[in-house]
Each structure stands twice: as C-alpha cells, then as structure tokens.
Symmetry: C2
Subunit: 288 residues, 2 copies
C-alpha cells in the first residue's frame, strides 16, 4: 500500500475489468455521460476493520437506482469483486469510505463506466460524528409529495447529479454551519444533501418516509431502525416539521460514512445533547 | 481531420493546456467531481460555416453559471483558445455542436477540469428542426417561484447535473414522443430539459421569464427575441399555462444546436403548423 506523507493511505482507484490502477490515472473519456450529464449512480460504503459494512444492502439499492435510470448495471458479483480489489491492500486499522460509481458511459452508446474509489474517512466527518453538527434548514423547492408522482424526477435514486446537494452544503458552510436539512416547499423536513434525518421521540427512533417523499432510503438509517428493538427502542416513519424536532430526545443525520452526527443547533436553536448518541453510534459500530 | 466510416467527422476532444487529444483518450480522473458529483457547468455552441455562433454570449452565461457554483472559471481568452483548437480541423461544410465543460476537478482540491468536445449535429436534432416534434408536459415538481428564492437550487445555472433532464427525455421517448415540456407544480409552462419554450401570439414572440422561474436563460431565445423587430414582430416574456399554447400562432423549442423545433403535438393535441417556422429558422441561420 502506497502511503502519503501523512498518516493515512492514499486514494485507491479500481476499474471494472482492470483492477487497481494508479489513483491519478485518467479513466473517463471526454464523452462520458457521467461527466457530461451527471448521468450515473453511486454508493458509498463504510470500511471498518478491513471489511465493507452492509455491502449487499448498498448493492441492492444500486439495483433500484439503476432501474430508475434504466442503466445496465453489471452483475452484483462483478461489483463485489471490484470492491474487493479496491480493498485488498487497505490497512485494517484505517476507517475508509468506498465509493462505487456506474455511469452511462460514452455518448455514442457502449458499455457503462464502472469504477471504485477508496479513501480515508475525512476529519470533517469524524468531527461531526464526535462533536455533533450545526445545521440550517433550506428549501428543496418541491412539495413533499412531488417526486413520488413523477418517476422522471428520479426520487429515491442515488445519482451523481449532486450539484444542488453540493451547493446546499456550500451555502451552509458560507454561514459557518456544518450542513443543511432540506425541507419541502410545504414545510416538511425531508433529508440532508448526503444523509437522512433520524430522531428519537416517545421511545422510538423515527425517520422520514422515503416512498411518499422521494428522499433517498438510507442504508444506515434502515439498519438502525430495523435493529432498534435490540436497544429497547421502537421505530417508525413519519412526517415532521423542523420546529417539532426541538422537543425530540435526540436528532441526528445518519449516513454510511459519517455514521451518526447529532444535530446540536438547527437554525440557531440549540438541540440536545442527547444521552443516546454514544450508545447509538457504538451500536452502529462506528468508532468515536 | 480523421473521418469515421460514415459521412461526418469524428468527435474532436480538446483539453485546456494540452490542445486536441485523440477522442478516446481518458481525460478525467476517478475523483473528478464532475463525474462523482455532477459538480460542473457546460455550454453547447452551434458551429456553422466553420465558425462558433454567439460564443461570447455563451461564455458570458458560463461566467454566471460559474459564479452560482463558486467555480474558478479560466479567463474567457483561454476558453476561446480551447474552442478554436477544437474547431481548427473541422470541415466548414459540416454543422457541429461544440461543448465546453468545466468541472470542479479533483476531490482533494486543485484546478478545475476544462475540456471541449466537437461533434456533428445528430440526425434526431436535424429531424426535429425539419419536421417538428411531439411533446408531452411533465411536472418539474417545483412551484414556478421556488428556485428564484433559493440560490442553492442553482436555478439559471447550466450544470452537468442533468440526470433528471435525461430521465425526462427518456420518459418521453418511452411514449414514442420526442421531448418534454416541464411545467411547475402550480401549472405554468417552464422549459424543456435542453431547450426554451418560445411562442408567437398577438404578433409577438414570447418566452418564459427566466429570473422569476429559475429556468435557464436561453442564448438562442434571447437573440431571437432581441432581433424580433427585424422580422416585424414584437417580443416579451410572460407566464403561460400549457393549455393556452393551443391558441398561439406557433410554438417552438429553441436551443443552441437544434435551433428551432416546432411543437406539432402537445399532450396529443395538434399544434400548428405555423407559417413562421421556416422564416424564423432562416433568420436564426440554421440550415433546413
């Protein structure tokens, strides 16, 4: 494993059918529809103890994203092999983020472009997990039900067309904040640009219903809610307005790489700290 | 100029600082945020008689897109040089589409990725220009005013995050139609995934106001409306509901490469043919 000057390993890049290539190798042609049209899908998977956490669930979601975009996804076994190639030289002690990307490929047709990158989990993500995050609400423009009625809006698909996601996070950063909670034009909390909303109220862990809102169904969130009983907690989905989060017993953004980050201020109003944050994080298997 | 087996020239690819490279050369790294996040902008420019039509106007719009995304755009002179490099070997008799793409570059920072591609105008676009197009309305999800109030939604920026644009066009194709006219959740006509709406009524050419709707301000549309007086026509911007297009004296989708394509059916209802289509197309300088 090549090392950077710093403590962590370098980025690993693997390409379907080629295996690991030097990370600086250009791999996408100028006419790749991933870069020309954001026409592709991806998954981010947490790497812990040298293993990929919930890879099967991520690959199952990728199948759903591919169907929504009518993308010709390679067989799961090929994607698993690609992920394992990227992971082969990774130090077991280093927390990582594996990204699998599938674009529509060249503009004139032909096969999809498939590659994986593996990087160390960044300091900003570790800090959010440890110290919590400051968040502002921002409109996503849509009414909450708009995307469920319009499949061409690609609700629920994890595409690489994330320009608005990135712009939303830049808008938060410009205000000295860590992240954004998108709200619908009719005032419901939806999701964050790269995470789901989870909160604890009435002894239950809640999240926003993906099907009726078109938000991305989170892998980490689903695992947590499905296993909530082991913590003595109930679980459910419901719609909530941001103002109603202030009375919750804990509010978090959940995602595959950051894990759980507790929202400590929302639009300037203090939230928490929740006594459950450390227990939930440990239950999810994320280092503190 | 290398030739394909067919009649037209091959794709030309030019990279900032390198000039023309073989079209199949991979030029983007795996961590390029253009492909990972759709985090980039582009312009498409019509190539006619070996020249770039309205290049300055396209580059001015690119400056606005870059500002909206906080992208570090190279100087206009560098982009002009890049475009001229791509164009240098292009046969003057072949109608072309030049695309200039600027992505945020590598995930760990560093310079933007800048390249241009030049291809022949495709048969589907020529057919739409010649025969007109069949169009279905489809909701864009937003109320008409949503994006003007939320800069992080990137209204008016021409980003490469076009997954929804492409999915909307696939949805039309699956119904045997040529294109989509997006409407707002409150029922106003907005734009097409890669074109503006233009219609003729009361002796004026109209389009949808970009500023209040967050649609992309079209270069071809603006040129046409600014020069409408030379055709003895007025011009203006206003909101319209799709049903009210049926009484217009002509309805078109306008874009830089296709030029003008007359909408001949909208949601199955016949429109036109307008007696003005050929005159407007010729005035815009597009071959029939």
């Amino acid at each position: 494993m090549a090392q950077t000057d710093g403590p962590g390993p370098q980025r690993v890049v693997a390409v379907l059918g080629r295996g690991v290539v030097p990370a600086e190798t250009p791999i996408l042609r100028a006419d790749d529809l991933g870069a020309l049209r954001g026409d592709g899908i991806f998954e981010s998977v947490h790497v812990r103890d040298g293993r990929l956490w919930l890879l099967d669930e991520h690959l199952a979601r990728m199948v759903r994203s591919a169907a929504r975009l009518e993308l010709d996804l390679p067989p799961a076994a090929a994607l698993v092999e690609l992920a394992e190639q990227a992971l082969a030289g990774w130090p077991a002690g280093v927390e990582g983020a594996l990204r699998i990307v599938v674009t529509r490929g060249g503009e004139d047709g032909g096969p999809v472009t498939v590659f994986a990158t593996l990087t160390e989990v960044g300091p900003k993500q570790l800090k959010g997990r440890r110290d919590g995050i400051t968040v502002a609400t921002a409109s996503l423009g849509y009414p909450a039900g708009a995307r469920s009625e319009a499949p061409w809006l690609l609700g629920g698909a994890k595409t690489v067309s994330y320009a608005v996601n990135m712009a939303s996070q830049r808008w938060a950063t410009a205000q000295g904040l860590d992240d954004v909670l998108w709200v619908s034009s009719d005032g419901w909390a939806l999701e964050a640009p790269t995470a789901n909303l989870v909160w604890l109220a009435d002894g239950r862990l809640w999240t926003v219903p993906p099907v009726i809102t078109g938000i991305l169904a989170g892998i980490t969130t689903r695992w947590l809610l499905e296993h909530a009983g082991e913590l003595g907690l109930g679980a459910g989905e419901r719609m909530i307005r941001p103002a109603d989060l202030t009375s919750a017993d804990g509010v978090w953004l959940a995602s595959s790489v950051r894990g759980l980050a507790e929202i400590r201020t929302l639009d300037g109003k203090p939230l928490g700290p929740s006594g459950e944050t450390a227990r939930l994080r440990e239950f999810l298997g994320f280092p503190g």
